[in-house]
């Protein structure tokens, strides 16, 4: 049993160990680059370990009705670690202290715990561990004034969300007398006011964390307040973990009509709101924020399906979305040299930075869902389930909503090419920037997702 605890949760242990080592390193003011290197190494090891477990078909219930290692847990953690690795590589240059890595790793650890959890206690712990370091990340290492405000807004709404989730959990606990998710799911199907209230409270909490309309309003300010790098982290990993957490709770649970209707309406509202509001944005981070609201809508939309393929669709969507966001942010900072986040910086960038501009263009087009980019496939995976569940009209509306998304994604892509490039192209490339490693890895992963879109279907 102890061995299983060690082996089954080895990635978590690795991260925990990493946190300790980083603390020590920080204490002894070791080389700044070392933290990053360790981070990358540990995450790589963790990912490969998960892959190994995946192929061995490893599956175990470690803590009865609290921690269960199943295919979803393995894949979800793999997605988190993979994206984390890419993110880490992308932020190697900007990370100027071990503290940064400590916070990052803590947050990732929370995300991993969410993936494992089969009970509300671990889920709650995971969620808190995911978001608390994120607040700290937002306010640390910056002299900028706005960050405090953004972080506070995030913290406040996030705390309210936690409270809502907790209250929902307590109601559920009141019904079932247990914190096991499975037990609650079983009782939910029988209906009842307390059950439904609990479900909706938990759902609202997740909507708040995931920034779904009308629980979204913190996102633009929080994203705009943080550094681009942290914004990328919030938009990709944190949001991804929240969504996957929800998927973890619901797995392929059949939801009742009211919940489906609520989810559908809110998702559509999110899609429309995010995409339309993003049109008039002039800064990259706010754009990203609104875009993330819209994407939250798509991801939640996946929950409306009743065909039982939502987990696969969500895993695909989350990984693609997270990777794309990370790559887009990295490319943006490569183009803007980390100065400012006005979209004007992108004008004609293809002439000066052809490679990052090209990758950024592809990334935003992918987010817009233009085929054959992976963003399109991700949407197809979600929508085919939803259409198959008989929700044709909402799907058509969602398509229309994504049409508005295309407007602003496209204008970003167009800015890159807007002025005809000057003849003397490609001034000095951004030389030895390790962010390239992240971009490369991310792009490689995305290419893999494009070429083998059925990957999660195969692994699940």
């Amino acid at each position: 049993m102890a061995a299983d605890l060690l082996y089954g949760l080895l990635p978590e242990h690795l991260l925990l160990g990493l946190i300790f080592i980083l603390m020590l390193l920080d204490m002894f003011r070791a080389n700044r680059q070392l933290g990053g290197a360790l981070f990358a190494a540990v995450l790589a090891v963790g990912s490969s370990l998960l892959l190994y477990q995946l192929f061995r078909g490893y599956s175990i219930e470690l803590v009865p009705s609290e921690i269960v290692i199943d295919r979803f847990a393995l894949l979800g953690r793999l997605v988190i670690l993979g994206c984390g690795l890419v993110f880490g590589l992308c932020s190697l240059m900007q990370a100027n202290s071990c503290k940064y890595w400590i916070l990052l790793v803590s947050s990732l650890l929370g995300a991993l715990i969410i993936m494992d959890s089969a009970g509300f206690a671990s889920l709650f712990i995971g969620i808190e561990m995911l978001s608390l370091p994120a607040f700290a990340l937002m306010v640390s290492f910056t002299g900028s004034a706005g960050t405090g405000e953004g972080a506070f807004k995030y913290l406040l709404l996030s705390s309210v969300a936690s409270a809502l989730i907790l209250f929902g959990i307590s109601l559920a606990y009141g019904v079932t007398g247990s914190l096991a998710i499975r037990a609650f799911a079983a009782s939910l199907s029988s209906g009842g006011v307390q059950n439904l209230t609990a479900a909706f409270l938990v759902l609202s909490g997740f909507f708040l964390k995931g920034a779904v309309f009308p629980f979204h309003a913190w996102a633009p300010d929080a994203y705009a307040g943080a550094r681009l790098q942290v914004t990328a982290f919030l938009a990709s990993l944190v949001k991804g973990a929240v969504v996957l957490g929800l998927a973890r709770i619901l797995t392929s649970l059949l939801l009742n009509g009211e919940i489906v209707a609520t989810i559908t309406v809110l998702s559509l509202a999110s899609i429309f709101y995010g995409n339309i509001a993003a049109i008039r944005q002039t800064t990259f981070k706010r754009l990203l924020a609104y875009s993330s609201i819209a994407h939250a809508g798509y991801m939640m939309f996946a929950l409306a399906d009743s065909t039982g393929a939502r987990v696969e669709a969500l895993l695909y969507y989350v990984s693609v979305y997270a990777l794309t966001t990370i790559i887009a942010c990295t490319c943006f900072s490569l183009i803007s040299h980390g100065e400012g986040d006005s979209l004007d910086l992108l004008d004609g960038a293809f002439a000066t930075h052809p490679v990052p501009a090209g990758v950024l263009a592809l990334a935003v087009l992918s987010m817009a869902g233009i085929p054959p980019l992976p963003g399109f496939l991700a949407k197809v995976f979600i929508f085919k389930n939803v259409v198959a569940s008989g929700l044709l009209l909402p799907s058509v509306l969602a398509f229309l909503g994504s049409y508005f998304g295309a407007v602003f994604y496209l204008s970003v892509a167009f800015r890159l090419f807007s002025t005809a490039p000057a003849v003397d192209d490609a001034t000095g490339e951004v030389g030895k920037n390790t962010a390239w490693g992240g971009v490369l890895l991310g792009t490689a992963l995305l290419t893999l997702f494009t070429l083998v879109p059925g990957i999660f279907n195969l692994l699940l």
Binding site: F350, P354, L365, I370, P371, P372, F376, L377, V380, F383, K384, V387, A388, L392, S395, V396, F399, L400, S402, Y403, A406, V407, L410, S411, F414, F417, S418, A420, P421, V423, D424, D425, A426, P453, G454, N457
Partner: protein, 524 residues
């Protein structure tokens, strides 16, 4: 070479070329252009070989390349020549080297971005035309947009940003619904057969409910009507045609617009035969509206590119008219019109582009070409003649067959009791012959004739340009004089399609059912 390999090469060669061009040093080097041209020419040879070897007989499912992509969804990278796409394939393969050849010395051709975009565009067009899987079709259909938009954006005129945006967003409206239709079809397939599949062969077997089919049909037709464009959906057209660089306009008018026609042929008719049969008269009327609208507006256009844009609208209307006549001859006519219009409009635009390359911005004031550049004038005259559908040019072959088929169909409808609205529409479409002569000759007169007022001397055609125009003229003349050998290759596919739709509708659609084989008639 096996067909699958050739098809794979058609797709990968341009992409590889684009990659290669991308990494080559761009600065003042002719090398990227040579690489791009070489890959286009190889592709042309391959496509021509494919066309030549395609014997037209289809036994069951078309073969070609078939690689699973999303196995769980039944999305396979299934590409094949099935007859309907043969012309489109040839047209694409032909026009790209021609366009690049004419743009050889332009400013944009100095950029590797331009060359790469062209090559990517070519690959995605091949994908669209060869697709035998609906999802693959959709993927490529959309993928075409991006390089085209970037071409406009990076190398267009003053309002290029607005033009590119308009073009993209307008076209995307159709795609949004199209995707919904695609998914709906997949889901229908899932419900009926228990498995996901987007193969055309699979989807054609489904029995859709009337509402479903209507929705699918409308979505497809909307997407295609925007792409073509068809009358009320053409607002993006003038701006895009005027703002894109000449080569972009040429490709847009020559090939991209044909995607709309192809979509109708490949998607709307086989997938929704019942609705097609019912809706055909209305779409015919829409087509006639766009024929007339385009022609009448073109009459008073001073700007040559706008004129070509509206003329293009008019000519594309003929294609749609031909298709929705649901009749063998008209369908063949429509397919010929695809080739003919593609070649003609590209020819016209490239002549203008040659002028622009010679004269810079003052090309709009050019006149008396017949004096200053007689060879160019002859070439332009030939393109004009082809576009007024003079006999012995491709324009005549196609428009004659379209109107012929549409007329026979409308007459058959009338004699079997329908109102003669369709007939009226066809007659109106026929009278547009007069208008088209009017606007094209007016255009020709302005540019070709008159007292030469151009201060700068004009270079006549050089060898490169002559080589660019030659294949276009060859196609025009060949189809004009002897279309039969080309027709026979697509014949079986077309009859299969018409029978597919005809089987669902009450009217006698194929002439064979109208007249006895010995050429007799129902009048007896």
């Amino acid at each position: 070479m096996p067909e699958s390999l050739t098809i794979l090469l058609l797709l990968t060669l341009p992409l590889a070329g684009a990659l290669l061009v991308g990494v080559l040093p761009a600065r003042n080097s002719i090398l990227p252009r040579i690489v791009a041209m070489a890959s286009m020419l190889v592709v042309l040879v391959l496509a021509a070989g494919l066309f030549y070897n395609f014997d037209g007989t289809i036994a069951g499912e078309p073969l070609g390349l078939n690689v699973p992509w999303i196995a769980s969804l039944g999305v396979n990278l299934h590409l094949a020549v099935d007859g309907l796409n043969a012309y489109f394939l040839l047209l694409t393969a032909l026009l790209f080297p021609v366009v690049l050849g004419s743009a050889w010395r332009t400013r944009e051709a100095q950029f590797t971005l331009y060359l790469a975009l062209l090559l990517v565009l070519e690959a995605s067009l091949f994908g669209t035309f060869l697709a035998q899987n609906l999802m693959i079709f959709f993927v490529f259909w959309e993928a075409v947009l991006i390089p085209m938009c970037l071409l406009i954006l990076a190398f267009g005129g003053e309002q290029r940003r607005q033009a590119a945006m308009t073009f993209f967003l307008y076209t995307l409206v159709g795609s949004v619904l199209l995707l919904a239709a695609v998914l709906l079809l997949g889901v229908e397939g899932l419900h009926q057969t228990g498995r996901w599949s987007f193969e055309f062969g699979h989807l054609e077997q489904l029995h859709l409910g009337w509402e479903t089919e209507l929705f699918v049909f409308c979505s497809i037709v909307l997407a295609c009507a925007i792409k073509c464009p068809l009358f009320p959906f053409h607002s993006w057209l003038p701006l895009s045609y005027c703002e894109a660089p000449f080569s972009g306009t040429a490709l847009m008018a020559g090939v991209l617009s044909k995607m709309g026609a192809f979509g109708i042929l490949k998607l709307a008719l086989p997938l929704c035969p019942e609705v097609s049969a019912v809706m055909a008269p209305y779409l015919e009327m829409l087509a006639v509206a766009s024929i007339v609208h385009g022609a009448v507006i073109a009459l008073r256009q001073e700007d040559f590119r706008r004129l070509v844009a509206y003329a293009s609208l008019s000519h594309m209307g003929y294609i749609v008219l031909g298709i929705f006549s649901l009749q063998n001859t008209a369908m063949h006519g429509a397919l010929f019109q695809v080739l003919s219009h593609g070649v003609t409009v590209v020819g016209l635009l490239l002549v203008l582009s040659v002028l622009e390359q010679r004269l810079g911005t003052s090309w709009r004031q050019v006149n008396a070409l017949a004096t200053s550049a007689p060879h160019l004038a002859i070439v332009l005259m030939l393109f004009i003649l082809a576009s007024v559908a003079l006999p012995l040019t491709s324009g005549f072959t196609s428009e004659f067959m379209i109107l012929f088929g549409a007329f026979q169909h409308a007459m058959a409808a009338w004699t079997s009791g329908a109102l003669p609205i369709q007939l009226g529409a066809v007659v109106v479409a026929a009278t547009v012959m007069v208008l088209s002569a009017g606007y094209m000759l007016r255009f020709g007169r302005t540019i070709l004739f008159g007292e030469s007022s151009c201060g700068t001397p004009l270079w006549d055609l050089n060898l490169r340009e002559a080589m660019v125009f030659f294949p276009l003229l060859l196609v025009i003349v060949w189809i004009g004089i002897w279309p039969n050998p080309i027709m026979t290759r697509v014949g079986p596919a077309v009859s299969r399609l018409t029978q597919q739709v005809a089987g669902k509708s009450g009217l006698p659609l194929a002439l064979s059912s109208l007249t006895s084989p010995d050429g007799g008639a129902n009048g007896r």
